[in-house]
Structure formats: structure tokens, C-alpha cells
């Protein structure tokens, strides 16, 4: 699994690729706490290249989204692989978090919010 973060204006983009399961999910969480949560409350999670996610992945995203919303921000997701999308739909996660086809769309959605 590969993790990286980049800043686009006030929005942090967290890139996750590889496979997300009970073994790798804790790494995502601690990366998020160290590198993202302290800088930003508006986060886009870019899942391009994430080929697999189990419920452990959903749990991490859920925790992250909750934290951002409690601080007045939000977490949005972009570039979801069909295999991962299946898990999102199954767990009804797509009902709680806004999902965008492209990272740019997700970043822009924050900018139009603040206008």
C-alpha cells in the first residue's frame, strides 16, 4: 500500500493505493492523524490505484469523516475503483460520504461550499 498527501489550497488530498485490509488499515489511520488531521479539516481521499478494500477500510474512512465533521470540515472521496465501490454500496457508506469521479471535482466542491 502507498500513502501520500498533497495540499491544494485549503484542501488536503490523501492518496491511497494498493490494498486496504485489517492489516493495512491502521497504517492509513496513523498516517492520517500525523500528516493530514493536524493541517486541515477539509480532506479529499483519492482512491485511484486502490484495488481492494475490506470493511476495515470503511471503518477507517468512517472514523476520519466523523473527526473532520466534528471539527466543522468534511471528508470526500474521489476516483473509486468498481471493486471498492461495491463495498461502499454494500455497507451503505456511499450514503454518508460524498463521492466524486475526479479529485478536481471533489476539491472544487469544497470551494463552492465556502462561497
Amino acid at each position: 500500500m502507498k500513502l501520500s498527501v498533497q495540499q491544494i489550497g485549503a484542501v488536503s488530498v490523501l492518496n491511497i493505493s494498493g490494498e486496504l485490509d485489517a492489516r493495512t488499515a491502521p497504517q492509513v489511520n496513523s498516517f492520517f492523524q500525523d500528516k493530514v488531521a493536524s493541517h486541515s479539516t477539509n480532506v479529499v481521499v483519492n482512491l485511484k490505484g486502490l484495488e481492494y478494500s475490506s470493511s476495515a477500510g470503511i471503518r477507517v474512512f468512517l472514523g476520519m469523516a466523523r473527526e473532520m465533521r466534528n471539527q466543522g470540515g468534511d471528508l470526500r472521496i474521489a476516483e473509486v475503483d468498481p471493486r471498492v465501490d461495491k463495498v461502499f454500496r454494500l455497507s451503505k457508506f456511499d450514503k454518508i460520504v460524498r463521492i466524486f469521479p475526479a479529485v478536481d471535482d471533489a476539491v472544487q466542491s469544497f470551494q463552492s461550499d465556502s462561497r
Binding site: D21, S54, S55, A56, K86, S91
Partner: protein, 961 residues
């Protein structure tokens, strides 16, 4: 103490600086001293890592005997040896080919050991060997080709003919070789074209055909093509292909002349015959055409449009040819076109057709389709070999050119520019300039400058170095390696010469420092004062010397770096080529055999080392051949050898396809071995292999183990019931020791495992070997399928290796006889640990794919298995040491079923309450999601607690379409 007289300061330093390896050993061959070049070439970093070890440890196996003998002779005779070539093996796969001269170390008139100078000749050795291989490879192809081929030199004299040539022209190789080609192709049309063609080095292929009288007086119609051949820079002359098309022509002539009473004869023809009407619809075919195209019957084909038999890409081409036939009424003499079978498989063919003329009107066409796959294949193989050899030569040349440029400038310039800038910072000077020696013209050339002011202000600096070296000051710097300080004022003669220059450019003082590395002056650095009254202090001289020595060593590093980069680049490219060759020759699919299953595993090491396996049906015999082999070398040479071996074994066994399996096997391996010994003796290549021939109906296995790891037979009870140990030497060792054939019945539930020593020799982080014993221990067990045991051994060897680099290829083939009416199933047991989680889910997905379950269901099974396994791993053994988790995937008539078993805490999926999936994020509970998803994904979940174990079964129904 057995210390070396060389362990005294300066001599050791000297030895460490020479590029050749130097090693001293005692009478037993234990190393007492080695220089840095030798140590580094073996991949070590410190002397103490080598001292005290036997030299034999670093000698490749096949050189060991010779090396020990040479050492013994030197010690006993007290005389130095001739140069010997040895491959040295070091740490982490480091190796090099050394040319060593061994001489005695005398002390008080007695020989107390040896000293050797070892020159690294790896590059030369490998280039030579590769050339030899390319040539051998071609020889092999020529030897096998079904068409007559001769190689001719520039004077059109024959240098080599293959067996097919000897058959066609009814002559022996001795009779043909050395004779001019026109002796065989005497027909004027052939001769003229050949002469015309042979005179030029045109890259085109010439096709000629004509009547030719053969040695025994018979006439034959030949189609001759000529191709030039280059491998690398070596010109092998031309290849002349002679294809006997007498029968085709005869049939064609008969076709045109006969209109009646031929149909009954047509079925006895070997070639496929067709008739079609003017619109292209088939009106008649003979039996061979039905068989060749795999249609059910003649009726199946008649009425079909001809385009169905023609490969899509060739249709336009085909159409035009037939259009021309109708327009000109001229027969099509030879149309090379692939045809399609009913199932869509392509075969190369040659079509000959003529018009059907009825009362002056062309009403249709009739013709013959001849399967020329074998010929085309041989030609393509040759073409591919030729192209590979040529492109390799091209690559090497361009690589060298590029590397030279890199080592000459790129990083060096950066270093020099940085150096100049740094000098102006360290010293209170206005500018600094570096000039390097141009030894050819015996002058200094400015390579970089840096000034604190605008460039024109320090242009004078550069003029200083433009002086010829007969300038005394510069000569002292370069030749005497002395720092020189020149001022505008001083009365010395040297300064006089520069006075004018100083005045012009405002230079007040100048310091020149030589750049020295390994005792050689590379050039010098000049630093310039322009401020009036500025002087260089004597203590600045020492500082300048220190700084320039650092720059010089940086330059040396840059040079070395560029060299290493170049070497690595070439090695990496070599590797890629080797891998490509290797991967292209693994079977694309494993044949399925009724009542049997075969599972394979292969993982290439970083270095190509020539493992391979093959599983294939032997001709029409009904037998299946399978082999696992290990070519005992590395690199492109090994890969080429592997390819050669594989094709030889395949073609050889197919040729003997009508023999009983034991004889077939012996014939195949002996023939291949003799061939390798005869043609490859000089390259010292050999391979160990295990080859089995299975008669699937009788359940009987014949095998030859040629110096390979023993194959294991695992019984249905899980015990190892047989070890199939070597029955002969490695291939290529000797043509005098016969290969024995072993045979045994294989009963239902029995598994044969064959593998390569990549397994037994796999090392962990502490360099401990996996070992054959552990392999046997881990293979012992009740396995429901071949894939189960292969997967287990694969995961077990990788868990042993950890993060250690894989040094050798890993190859494993498992063959299992199915039991009557068994439920197809695969099983995997690992520790319930997070690191195994991905293994479990990938195993489930792979098992489903082996059962050909559709992808959608496979994905669901994988996800469900992941959730269940995560649960067992995270909670099942909480507070206990991690126990085993077993996952079984079963394939039933109407469902795919997964069963997980663990000995952890009792687990009840139905008790775990479902998660709250409401839309309020703060109310939503986080746990329980996994189990909820499994329930959504699966059609049925059952939990049982049996004899202290959790058995969780989950199923997905499948529908057969």
C-alpha cells in the same frame, strides 16, 4: 602466526590500489591475505571477512577440481602455474570470471603457500560465450528444421547443410560441404539468381523457383529463398532454403487438366482440396480439408462462403488474388495465407488455385490448401533468433556509446563547476578556474570557471591556461606536482612572461594547485587575486592542497561512478533480455488431463538463472510429458541454453511419439544429451532435469531424473511414499553414462512433486538454508489438491526468506491423480496472523478461478473470506498464542463453499448484532460491519462448534448456463 610479509603499511596500500585481484593462501588453500580489489569483486567489504576461509568456498563448483589440482601442483613443484580461468562466487550473488596466475610463496626454501594475481575477465568471457551460444542456437534450429537449408559463404561455397538438405539432395554432409552451391542448384534460372543475389549484401529475401535435377537424376521443382545472416558483427554468410514443391506442382498441373473422375482420388490426397463458385461459395471439399479445418463434415463446409476459412486480416489480400484469377484466368501459383479452423484457430497455409472454365466462362475456382505451419514455424524461429542476435548487437553498441559520453562529461562538469565556486568561498580570491590535462596535445584545457564579478573580468584567467606547457610555472605544477604562487611584482623569470597578461587583466596574484589522484596529475586549479596588495599566505597553500585533493577524489569517484553505472546498465539490460527469452518459453496454459490435475509455481530471481518447466501432450500418443529443469548458470547464455533445451526435448519426444513411454523417454533424453555434449562441450553448460511421461489412462509414470533434486511422491495418507532420485547424470555432462528409466504406478490421491534447488537453497535473513529436509517435512501432509500443496510450499519458502533477496529461481510442479467422485477442493492452513490475511483471500480468489467460477462471484467469495479471516485473526485467539486457521474452498454442483476452521474462542455470527447503517454519522456504530457484509454477500452461513473448533461454512449458489 601466519601473517603475510605484505601486511606492512605501504605494500598493502599498493596492493589495494591495483585494479587486479591479489590473494595469498596457505598450503591448505586458506586465505592469508587478499587485496581490496579481490575482496570487493566477491562482494565483501572488509578483509577480515575473507581471511581464514578456504579459497574453494569462492570457487564455482565445476571449477573446483581443476583449481585444487592446480594449487596442489604449484605447492608440490614450487613452480608457477599457467593462466587458468576460474569463476569466483562471492556474497549475495557476486561473481566474476577470473584469469589467475598462481605462484608459490617460498619461505626458508619451503613452499608455505601460494599467491595469485587474478584479473577480472568476466566481460570478455561472457561476450565470447554469448557469441558461441548464438551460433549454437542457430545450429540447433538448422538441425531441426524440416526444410533443406544450407549456409553459404561469400564465394557461394557451402559451409553447412542440415539433415533435410542431405535427404533432399541425397548426399552426405561431407559431400556437400565445401562444394559451390551451384553444384546443387544447376538450373540456369536458379543459378543466375543466386549469383546475382550472392554478390550483394542486400537485406531482402529472394524467392526463386525452378526445375532442378537432383543427385540421383530425378527432377524436382524447388522453391529457393536466400537470406543474409548476421549475428552480432559476425557474418555467417547466407542461408539458402530449398523447399521441394514437386508434389504441389504436380497436383496443380493435374488439377488444371482433369475435369472428371478425380473426386474419389481427392480424398486420398494428403492436401486439402476445395472448389468454389464464382461468388466464393464452397461447392466441394475433400476429407483432408474437413479435418484440417476441424469442421464436422463435408456438408458442414459446402455452401459456406470461403471467407470463413480465411484469417480476417488477410481477407482483402485473398480477395484481390482471386479477383485476378477470374480476370486473367491464370492460376494462383502460391499464396501464403493463414486459414482458420471452425473454432477460429490460425494455421499457416499455402494456397494453390486455378480457374474452373466451362465453355469459355470462368464459373469458379478449385485449389489446394497446404498446411505449412511446420515450415513457417521453423522460418519464424530462425527469423526471431536472427533478429534477437542482431538487435542485441545493436543495443550493445549504442549502450557503449552512451555510457562513454556519460563518463566523460555529465557529472564531472558539475563537480568542476562546484569546485570553482567553492574555491572562491574558501579563499579570499575573486575567481577560480579548473583546467584539465589534455595528454594527447600536452596542454591544459579550461573546463570550468567561476568569478565573483562579470565573466569578462576574469577572461584573463583562462588565457593563463592557454599557454603551452613549456611555461616553467605550469610545468612545475603539472610535472613536479608543486603549488605555485605568482605575483605581478616579483623579479623571477617565470613571472616576467605573464607580466603583460597580469597588467591587461588586472591580476595581482595567482595560486596554481595541481589536481592529483593515484599519483597522476589530472590538471590544476588556478585562483586569482585582483585586489591591490593582496597576497597568498603560506598557510593557505596547505589548505589549498587539502581542498584540491578532495576535489580530485570527487572526480575520481565520478569517473568510477560513471563506470559502475555503465556496468550496471549493461547487466540490467542483459537481465531483461534473459527474462524475456525465459518468460516467452513457459507453457501458456497447462493441458487438462481427464482424472488428473497439475499445479505449477515459478518465481524468477532477480538474476536470470535458467529454471524452467514444461507440460505438454506428446504428439498424438495420448501421453503427457512434463519436466522441471535447472540450467546451471546465469544470464543470457543460460536463458538461450534453456530455450534450446526445451525445444530439443519437445521436438525430440514428438518425433518418437509412437514408441512405448519408457523407450520414448530414454530416446528423447539420450538424443538431447548427446546433442548438447557434442555441440556444447566447449561452453561447459549443463542442466539438471526431472522429466516424467504420464500414461494417464493406465495411471503409470515413467521418469528420468538427470542429476536433479529428487521428486517426491506423497500418498493419500499424507506420507512421503517414494523419492525419485537421480537415474543418470546431468544433461551435457557425458555421453557415455546411460540414463536409466524409472517407472511406477500412480494411484488415486497420490501426488508427485518436482522442484528445483532454488527451494532447498533459499536463504533467510541469517543466511540459513530452507533445506531439502524442510521441503520434505512441509510437503508431508494430506492435500486435497495439487494446488493446495504447491501453494503451501510457495508460502512456506517465502515466509522462511522474509525480506532476504531471492537468489535463485523457484520452480515447482505438482501432479495429482484425482480420486473417484471427489469434490474438487483446495485447502490452505496458516497461522492466524495479520501477515497471512492477504494470502488467505488471494488463495480463495485463485481457487475460485481454478474452478472457473465467474469473476463476480469470485470477488464476493474473496471479500467474504477476508472478513471472516480478519475476524478470526483479530479476535479468535485473543489472549491466546495465535493458532492455525484453515480455509477450504469446495466446488459443488450448485454452490461454491468456503469452510474456515480455527481453534480459538467460540464464535457466533448470528449473535453479533448487525450494524446501524443509518445516515447519521454520529449514531452509526463502527463494529459488526464485516459480518453484515458477509451476510449480504453470501447465500448461506452456518456456524458449528465441533471438538473444540469453530467451523464456519459460507456458500454462494452458482447457476450453470
Amino acid at each position: 602466526m601466519n601473517t603475510s610479509p605484505f601486511e606492512k603499511g605501504s605494500t598493502v596500500e599498493f596492493l589495494d590500489e591495483i585494479p587486479d585481484g591479489y590473494v595469498e593462501a596457505d598450503r591448505d588453500g586458506r586465505v592469508t591475505f587478499a587485496n581490496l580489489s579481490f575482496i570487493k569483486a566477491l562482494g565483501f567489504s572488509e578483509r577480515k571477512e575473507i581471511i581464514g576461509k578456504h579459497l574453494w568456498m569462492f570457487t564455482r563448483k565445476q571449477y573446483l577440481r581443476g583449481m585444487k589440482l592446480t594449487y596442489q601442483t604449484v605447492i608440490e613443484s614450487g613452480l608457477p602455474s599457467d593462466y587458468v580461468q576460474i569463476i569466483y562466487d562471492g556474497k549475495n550473488g557476486y561473481y566474476f570470471v577470473g584469469e589467475a596466475a598462481i605462484s608459490p610463496l617460498q619461505e626458508h626454501g619451503k613452499v608455505r603457500g601460494t599467491r595469485s594475481m587474478v584479473r577480472d575477465v568476466t566481460h570478455r568471457f561472457e561476450t565470447e560465450r554469448e557469441r558461441a551460444f548464438q551460433k549454437d542456437f542457430l545450429d540447433a534450429l538448422l538441425y531441426q528444421a524440416p526444410i533443406a537449408i544450407a549456409t553459404i559463404d561469400k564465394t557461394l561455397k557451402i559451409s553447412l547443410v542440415n539433415p533435410a538438405f542431405q535427404r533432399l539432395f541425397r548426399c552426405s554432409a561431407e559431400e556437400a560441404e565445401g562444394k559451390p552451391m551451384e553444384h546443387f542448384l544447376s538450373a540456369t534460372e536458379l543459378k543466375d539468381r543466386l549469383n546475382e543475389y550472392g554478390g550483394q549484401r542486400s537485406p531482402d529475401t529472394a524467392f526463386i523457383s525452378g526445375q532442378q535435377r537432383l543427385n540421383n537424376g530425378a527432377m524436382a521443382e524447388l522453391e529457393v529463398s536466400v537470406q543474409p545472416f548476421f549475428a552480432g558483427s559476425i557474418n555467417y554468410g547466407h542461408l539458402v532454403f530449398c523447399n521441394d514443391i514437386t508434389d504441389v506442382r504436380k497436383a496443380e498441373v493435374e488439377l488444371v487438366n482433369t475435369t472428371t473422375a478425380y473426386r474419389s482420388v481427392l480424398d486420398t490426397l494428403q492436401d486439402a482440396y476445395f472448389e468454389a463458385d464464382a461468388r466464393g461459395y464452397i461447392t466441394y471439399v475433400n476429407q483432408p480439408l474437413v479435418e484440417a479445418t476441424r469442421y464436422d463434415s463435408k456438408e458442414d463446409l459446402i455452401g459456406l462462403h470461403f471467407r470463413h476459412l480465411v484469417d480476417y486480416d488477410s481477407r482483402i489480400f485473398f480477395l484481390n488474388a482471386f479477383k485476378k484469377l477470374f480476370e486473367t484466368r491464370q492460376p494462383i501459383r502460391s499464396l501464403q495465407i493463414p486459414y482458420l479452423t471452425k473454432a477460429g484457430t490460425r494455421f499457416s497455409s499455402e494456397v494453390v488455385a486455378s480457374p474452373i472454365i466451362d465453355e469459355g466462362i470462368v464459373t469458379g475456382t478449385r485449389g489446394i490448401i497446404r498446411d505449412v505451419s511446420a515450415r513457417v514455424q521453423a522460418e519464424e524461429l530462425l527469423k526471431a533468433a536472427k533478429e534477437a542476435a542482431e538487435s542485441r548487437a545493436r543495443e550493445l553498441t549504442s549502450l557503449n556509446r552512451l555510457a562513454q559520453q556519460v563518463s566523460r562529461s555529465l557529472n564531472l562538469r558539475e563537480i568542476l563547476e562546484t569546485a570553482c565556486r567553492e574555491m572562491t568561498r574558501i579563499f579570499p580570491v575573486q575567481s577560480a578556474t579548473v583546467a584539465l590535462m589534455d595528454h594527447k596535445n600536452h596542454l591544459l584545457k579550461v573546463k570550468a570557471s567561476y568569478g565573483k564579478r562579470s565573466p569578462d573580468r576574469f577572461s584573463g584567467d583562462q588565457m593563463i591556461f592557454g599557454e603551452p606547457l613549456d611555461n616553467e610555472v605550469l610545468r612545475d605544477v603539472i610535472e613536479e606536482k608543486q603549488v605555485q604562487i605568482v605575483t605581478g611584482e616579483g623579479g623571477d623569470a617565470a613571472a616576467e612572461r605573464w607580466k603583460a597578461l597580469f597588467g591587461e587583466s588586472g591580476i595581482k596574484a595567482l595560486m596554481l594547485v595541481p589536481l592529483i589522484t593515484r599519483g597522476e596529475t589530472l590538471g590544476c586549479i588556478g585562483m586569482v587575486h585582483r585586489k591591490p596588495g593582496a597576497l597568498f599566505h603560506p598557510d593557505q597553500v596547505e589548505l589549498a592542497e587539502t581542498v584540491t585533493s578532495q576535489i580530485a577524489s570527487a572526480m575520481e569517484n565520478a569517473r568510477l561512478y560513471a563506470q559502475t553505472e555503465r556496468a550496471l546498465d549493461v547487466a540490467e539490460r542483459d537481465l531483461e533480455i534473459g527474462r524475456e527469452i525465459q518468460s516467452g518459453f513457459f507453457p501458456r496454459s497447462i493441458p487438462s488431463i481427464q482424472g488428473w490435475e497439475i499445479a505449477t509455481f515459478f518465481r524468477a530471481a532477480r538474476q536470470v538463472s535458467g529454471d524452467f518447466y514444461d507440460v505438454y501432450p506428446i504428439g498424438k500418443s495420448g501421453y503427457t510429458g512434463w519436466l522441471v529443469a535447472d540450467v546451471c548458470d546465469k544470464g543470457v547464455g543460460a536463458a538461450l541454453f534453456m530455450v534450446l533445451l526445451r525445444s530439443l526435448i519437445r521436438s525430440s519426444s514428438e518425433q518418437s511419439g509412437d514408441l512405448p513411454p519408457g523407450e520414448l523417454l530414454q530416446e528423447t533424453i539420450s538424443r538431447v544429451n548427446n546433442y548438447v555434449v557434442r555441440l556444447h562441450g566447449r561452453s561447459n553448460m549443463f542442466a539438471t532435469l526431472f522429466m516424467g511421461i504420464l500414461d494417464p489412462d493406465r495411471g503409470h509414470l515413467h521418469y528420468i531424473n538427470a542429476g536433479h533434486e529428487p521428486a517426491l511422491v506423497i500418498g493419500p495418507s499424507g506420507m512421503i511414499i517414494n523419492e525419485l532420485i537421480p537415474t543418470g547424470p546431468a544433461i551435457g555432462f557425458s555421453d557415455e553414462i546411460p540414463f536409466e528409466v524409472g517407472d511406477l504406478p500412480l494411484l488415486p490421491g497420490e501426488i508427485v512433486i518436482s522442484y528445483t534447488d532454488g527451494f532447498s537453497e533459499a536463504r533467510d535473513m541469517q543466511c540459513l538454508m530452507y533445506s531439502g529436509e524442510r521441503f520434505i517435512r512441509e510437503a508431508t501432509g494430506v492435500w486435497p489438491s495439487a494446488y493446495s500443496v504447491v501453494k503451501h510450499l510457495e508460502l512456506d519458502v517465502f515466509s522462511h526468506m522474509g525480506d532476504q533477496v531471492q537468489l535463485d529461481d523457484l520452480t515447482l510442479v505438482g501432479l495429482r491423480r484425482k480420486q473417484d467422485k471427489e469434490v474438487p477442493c483446495h485447502r490452505l492452513t496458516r497461522k492466524a496472523e495479520l501477515k497471512n490475511l492477504s494470502h488467505f483471500r488471494n488463495f480463495v480468489a485463485e481457487s475460485c478461478r481454478l474452478f472457473q467460477v465467474e469473476e463476480e462471484i469470485t470477488e464476493s467469495m474473496k471479500m467474504a473470506a477476508d472478513e471472516i479471516c480478519s475476524n478470526v485473526i483479530l479476535h479468535g485467539y485473543q489472549g491466546l498464542p495465535a493458532g492455525d486457521l484453515t480455509v477450504t474452498v469446495e466446488y459443488h454442483e450448485s454452490e461454491v463453499r468456503i469452510v474456515t476452521e480455527d481453534a480459538g474462542h467460540p464464535f457466533h455470527p448470528e449473535v453479533t448484532s448487525g450494524p446501524d447503517l443509518g445516515n447519521d454519522i454520529n449514531k452509526r456504530k463502527i463494529g459488526g460491519l464485516g459480518i453484515y457484509m458477509v451476510k449480504e454477500l453470501m447465500d448461506e452461513i452456518v456456524h458449528e462448534r465441533k471438538s473444540g473448533k469453530n467451523h464456519l461454512t459460507f456458500k454462494k449458489y452458482i447457476h450453470h448456463h
